[in-house]
């Protein structure tokens, strides 16, 4: 409907009014109003779509910039923590093994030596003086082996405790995987948007349970217990 069309209708309306043609006036007024309404609806529709697209772009952009600014560096910190935890655990295990192997070796040598002498004693090929020496050796062997075996027990416990890294790092890596999936979904959303019609993007919800505390990442807000002592203090303040 052009301006000329509207001008024409307006002139007709004027003519109808001058002639006192009431039904004609009503009909022309309706026609003019209809034009107005159609244009208005078109405009509202266009604005709504624009707003919708802008909103969608905005959420997507916000999520992606959040990922880039916060989540990716955060994931890097977490993965670095995984490296340092596994390194620490490997070192703890290696240290225990390095400490224990010579102890086991010494015990082995001593018991072989004693077993040889004991054999000679059983077949009565050992002079009395040598037997006295051997009984001293046996006594000191018992003492030494007790200490050595205690050391080995402690070392084996150290190795046992060192394996705790698997649980902690497993939990951290799971979170990073969730982040990568989130990033992937956002990227796919962005590609869809720049292509044809846009599809819904889904964001991974923030986990209810934040999991292992990564130093320098999770403890910045001061709402976590950094050590068992802090846990104990908190619990005792609650009457534990």
């Amino acid at each position: 409907m052009t301006a000329i069309d509207r001008l024409k209708l307006t002139k007709q309306l004027l003519a109808a009014l001058e002639q006192g043609d009431e039904p004609g006036v009503d009909k022309l007024l309706d026609e003019l109003a209809a034009i107005r309404e159609t244009q208005l609806f078109h405009e509202v529709g266009r604005l709504t779509r624009q707003l919708h697209d802008a909103m969608r772009n905005f959420t997507l952009d916000a999520r992606i910039s959040e990922l880039a600014e916060h989540d990716i560096p955060d994931a890097k910190e977490r993965l670095n923590y995984v490296i340092s935890m596994t390194e620490q655990s490997a070192n703890q295990t290696l240290t225990a093994v390095e400490d224990l192997l010579p102890v086991a070796q010494t015990l082995n040598q001593q018991s072989r030596k004693l077993a040889g002498n004991w054999e000679r004693f059983l077949v009565r090929k050992m002079p009395y003086e040598e037997f006295k020496g051997m009984s001293h050796e046996i006594t000191s062997y018992f003492n030494e082996s007790r200490d050595s075996l205690e050391m080995m027990q402690k070392g084996l416990n150290d190795i046992l405790m060192a394996q705790g890294f698997q649980d902690i790092t497993g939990q951290i890596i799971r979170r990073v995987i969730a982040l990568v999936e989130d990033l992937e979904a956002s990227m796919v959303g962005l590609i869809r948007l720049s292509g044809t019609k846009s599809g819904a993007t889904k964001t991974v919800p923030v986990p209810d349970l934040p999991g292992p505390v990564v130093p320098g990442v999770d403890d910045a807000a001061g709402d976590v217990a950094g050590s068992q002592d802090e846990v104990d203090d908190l619990l005792s303040s609650l009457g534990f």
């Binding site: 416990n157 046992l160 405790m161 394996q163 705790g164 902690i168 217990a225 846990v231 609650l238």
Partner: protein
């Protein structure tokens, strides 16, 4: 003394099992989340529960709540061994009736201390 160890990571279950054996507790059972732990507990005979918090299926906190809500299990001592260290979470666990709370990574000495403390309180 029969102890049930609940954790979704088998390595952690083995660590706790071995530590407990070192402390003289040789009779242990294992479950990988609250859902599998509850039937074992309800069968009876468990004297002590050591549980993680964050597990798929049923979390340790829900397990704790279920235990406290069960008339047969209500008084079972529960030690939580978890990486969850937020203050609000520790308070939540305390309010749900946990008997001890150890954060990962922990030492053998810490575990022993908390277990001793729990039994000390029960004996009194």
């Amino acid at each position: 003394m029969k102890i049930l160890i609940v954790d979704d990571f088998s390595t952690m279950r083995r660590i706790i099992k071995n530590l407990l054996r070192d402390l003289g507790f040789t009779n242990t059972l294992e479950a990988d989340d609250g859902k599998t732990a509850l039937p074992i507990l309800r069968k009876g005979g468990i004297d002590f529960l050591v549980t993680d918090w964050n597990m798929p299926g049923m979390s340790g906190l829900d397990l704790l709540k279920a235990v406290r809500a069960d008339p047969d299990l209500g008084h079972l001592p529960v030690l939580m061994v978890t990486a969850e260290a937020k203050r609000e979470q520790i308070i939540m666990a305390a309010q749900a009736g946990v008997n001890g709370y150890v954060i990962k990574p922990f030492t053998a000495a810490t575990l022993k201390e908390k277990i001793d403390k729990i039994f000390e309180r029960i004996d009194n």
